[in-house]
Structures are given as C-alpha cells and as structure tokens.
Symmetry: C2
Subunit: 334 residues, 2 copies
Amino acid sequence: MADAPAAGPAATLPVAVDAMGGDKAPGEIVAGARQAADEGIEVVLVGPPELIGDPAGLPVVACTEVVEMHEDAGQAVRRKKDSSLVRAAELVRDGKASAMVSAGNTGATMASALLRMGRLRGVTRPCIATPLPRLGREPAVLVDAGANAECTSAMLVQFAKMGAAYASARYGIPDPSVALLSIGEEPSKGTPVVKETHAALAGGAGVRFVGNVEGRDLLPSPADVVVTDGFTGNVTLKALEGSLRFIVETLFAVFGTDASTIAASEALLPHLVPIAAELDPENTGGAMLLGVDGVCVISHGSSSATAMHNAVRVAHELAEAGLVARLAEAVGGT
Amino acid sequence: MADAPAAGPAATLPVAVDAMGGDKAPGEIVAGARQAADEGIEVVLVGPPELIGDPAGLPVVACTEVVEMHEDAGQAVRRKKDSSLVRAAELVRDGKASAMVSAGNTGATMASALLRMGRLRGVTRPCIATPLPRLGREPAVLVDAGANAECTSAMLVQFAKMGAAYASARYGIPDPSVALLSIGEEPSKGTPVVKETHAALAGGAGVRFVGNVEGRDLLPSPADVVVTDGFTGNVTLKALEGSLRFIVETLFAVFGTDASTIAASEALLPHLVPIAAELDPENTGGAMLLGVDGVCVISHGSSSATAMHNAVRVAHELAEAGLVARLAEAVGGT
C-alpha cells in the first residue's frame, strides 16, 4: 500500500523510529529501519546523530538526549525533553510521523506517548496489546500485557473493547471473540474485579464475550482476545516466553548429545524452524500501546534488525488502517 | 522408614486416600494406593464400598457420599458430611490417619481440610504449594498456587515462611531462598500489595529473601521458593503446563511427518523421555495445602495410578518428617 499515493496523506508520513532504544541500538535498530525503508515504507530515525553514527541513508531528526533502559520512566520523560523517545512521540503528535516505534525503556515509551500524544477521548488508561501465537493462523491478542499493574473492572472492559478493535484492525478478524483470564471457567471464579468484569462483559459491553479462559488455554488461545490486568498479563506472558526458551534450550542440548541425535536434529530442524519462527516474538511485530492518540509500537528490548523491521511494518500498516480512529470508535461505544 | 517401628506412632498411621476423587476414580486411584501399599506404606481407602468396587486388598473406611468435581466447594462440604473427602479429613483430625490425599474437587478438598482439621495456630489463610520443576535437581516451590485469589501482604509474607519450611521439609533444602513474583526486579515494580510484600520480606521476615523474580524466571526458578497471590499463581502455573503440553504435542506432530522424522524421533526419544518425566506433574507428588493442622495432598484431577502412588508417598514422607510442626514453628516466628 505504500506504493499507492491514492491512499491519502497518511501514507506519505514516515514512521518515527527511536534509533537509541533497545539493547542492540543503534546498530540493529538502524539496520531494521533500513530494511523497512527498502520495502517502500517511509522511515525517519530519531536520536543524537553522533550516537547513531551511520544512518544508512535514512533521514534523521536530531536530538541531544537518550533515555536509558533502566531509568525511572516518569522522571526520565519529564527531565529528558530532548530525548529520542520524547521527540519521536512529538513527531506523531505534530502530524510529522504516522507512528512511533521504540525498543527502549517500556515505561518511558508509554509515558512519552501518553504525555505527548495524549489519551484518546474516553480512555481511562492505555493498555499494552501483545500477540499470542497460534500456529498456522493469525495470533490472538493479550491485553493488558503490562501497562497497568492494578485495574478496575471498568478499565478491563475498556481493554476488551480496544483489544477487539485492534485484533480486527491488525489481523482482519471481523468480530473477534473476547475471553477473560481467570482461575476457572465459572463466572464465580477469580478476584472481585475479575468477577465484576465477567458480569459486565456478559451483560453486553459491545464485544463478543465468550467467557473465562484459564492459563492453560493461552497457547493456543481459543479466543481472539484475552483480557487481564497488566500484572497478571505481564507475569503470564513472560512465563510463556520463558518456558518456550527453556524447551528450545533443552532440545538443543539433546540434539548435541551424540552422533545419532545430531543426525536426528538434521532431519527435524527443517520442520522445527518454521514453528520456532512463528513462536518467536522477533517476528510478531512487537506490542502495541492502545488508547493514546497515535500509533505506538513497543518492541522487545532485545530486538534485532528483523524485529525492528517487522515492528516498523506493523506500525505503518496500522497507521494506514486507521487504528486510532477504530479504537476511538470502540471506546466511544461505552 | 515405614519398616522402622522405632520411628514412633505416626509411622504406623495410614494415609487416607479419597478413593472417589479425580477423573479416573476409583480405578486409577485404588491402583495407585495399592502401589504405595506394596512399597510398605500403610494406606486406607475412603469411599462408598459399592462405588469403590474391588479395593485391591486395602482397608476401606466406608461412607455414603461423594463430592463431584464441579460442585460448589463450600456447599458440598457443608451438605455432604458423609462424603469421602470430609471423612478423610476427619481421619486425620481424629488421629486415625497421618495424612489425606485427594485428586478430587480442589476447592472441596481445601474446604474439608480447613473445616475438619482447622487452621494451624497463627495462620491467617492456608495456601497451596506446587512444585516448579528444575531439571536435574530438586524442584522449586510456588506458593500460593490457587487457594486465595486475593491476598494481603501479611498473607504473602506468611506464605513465604510456610513455603520455605515446606521446601526444607520436602526437598531437604537447608535455608531456602525466597523470591517474590513481580513484573520487574526493582522493589518499585508491581501492585501496591506486591511492593508492600517486597518491603516486608526485605526488612527481615525470617526467610532468606532474594528479591523479585519475573515470569520468565519460573522455568527453571533461581529461587527455591516463589511467592505470589493465588490468582497470579494459578494462572501462571496453568500457563506453564499449557505451554509444555503445547510443545510436546507440536513435537509429536513433527515426529510423525515422514520416514526421516520417525527415525529421528527414535534416536531422540530415549533422551527426551526422562526430561518429560521430570516435567510431568504426574511424577511430582501433587500440590500441598499448607497451613491446616494436618498433611493434605491435592493431586491433579487427571491423576493416574502413578500420580496417586507418588502423592501417597509424598504424604507419608511429609507426615513422618513432621511437616505440620515445622510449619507451625515457621509461622509462630511472625
């Protein structure tokens, strides 16, 4: 779609990439941005030119500061007004970029987006949406994956609406099914907030609610959207990532045991590699901050060039798909 | 130790097995109890004789009722006073059994144990401890794995103490390290309850606190005990179980692809089977209810004879190791 000028002015705005965000910045970040540009997506790097080094032919919006990975998010954003993160968010706010992407400090990315772009009207709190892989089909979406450690049921209902709008915009699912994460299928299971949320969603909140799911249902998820608070979501998502990494490491150790297992691994790897690729967070395009007035992709801190390339593509596609307007419409239906 | 009468009167008491609890009751339950008896552990079955059928030569304490898997726990225990679950708990209370084991309705098992055995003095709420496998060494312990959906920091501190005493009694870890599950390593991360718990544990609560861990640290856990509320614990544990099951199913599908992968699977399976066995909840002896005045093992609802055999062995060993006295001592130190 980037080749079709008829798609309107949004198609010509670049994606703002925080060149200094992530464990592998700026090298892998710039390389990934370059790959996206090579596919026809407009990209602008944001960062101190002397730290970026070679921008690989991409335009640079210069700034003087960088938010480090472990800085306090609120303080960093307040103090470092000329940081790459804050400037990237301002480019979106000012209509100079269609979206921002960062693999840096997650809290500071959220704070920059929230403070500079502002909340969408009607949104109580933004949330993070993360893909849950489902082999051979579009991923499910987990909301909230970590923006809000504590949530009210009203917030969770809003996350459900935004999650459904996002699943629809990103994966083309027409009327996404929405489930609530709990400790049993019965409406009576869970914390008071979870029970209240179940009642609200079952009572007709404008999403296709299919009831509670449990932790064991997340991989693969039967529902297109799984709603939970940001504490449970973050712990659970990292637990899934950790267990997959553990299994891969365990398998590779077995593969190297002796000549027969090395031969076996050669027969299996062509089958396993595509599965691993589908499960790899590097390939899913990162998490999305929903509920701010702009597109903001939060990539994994360990993002490689491939991960950044995917994140930029997703950011571009969602800006083109009018994600923000669709979220506003979903929440306005409250 | 069951062969050593010198070990004292506790050694001669049988383990009370709820013959009617679990998806595979009574067949697999009785078979597993029989296997434990064959190794020298005294066992008594509890249940309606006409439903148990052949007790495989084991003594039976007869009752007339059974709590079904999906009954409301509180109601079931109040109404079915002559159920196998309630009677098993009474055998422990009355000094006629050293421990109880059930693979039935988890909520009703907790309620039976709590109402009939009572809480240990000083315990606010009992919690469920579940093993987290660590290949090649003793498992870590997750508390609370689902007894309390909502927790105060005082409860979490008590779970930490009971979890440490349990890790020590069950796995012989002399001074277990204790971590708090959160969404970042910093003390400032998490819900208000988690932050308060971090401060209390770091301030010297009588356990060796090593700080926060994240979801990705659970498999394998660097800490011997991981503390969390029962909602997060239950969701996370089931997420880990679900992801392992998902990977195993995916691997088996790949193994069956063609002649070369079938040959490869034959080379790998001898290496993979022992790992799968270590990860399999069937082999870990079940979850333990900590904080009631008696030993109560809660087995997985899908328990096979092997799982029940292990659960009975663990119940017997922990009764002999004086688990309840050790928990009382740990909590009394508040």
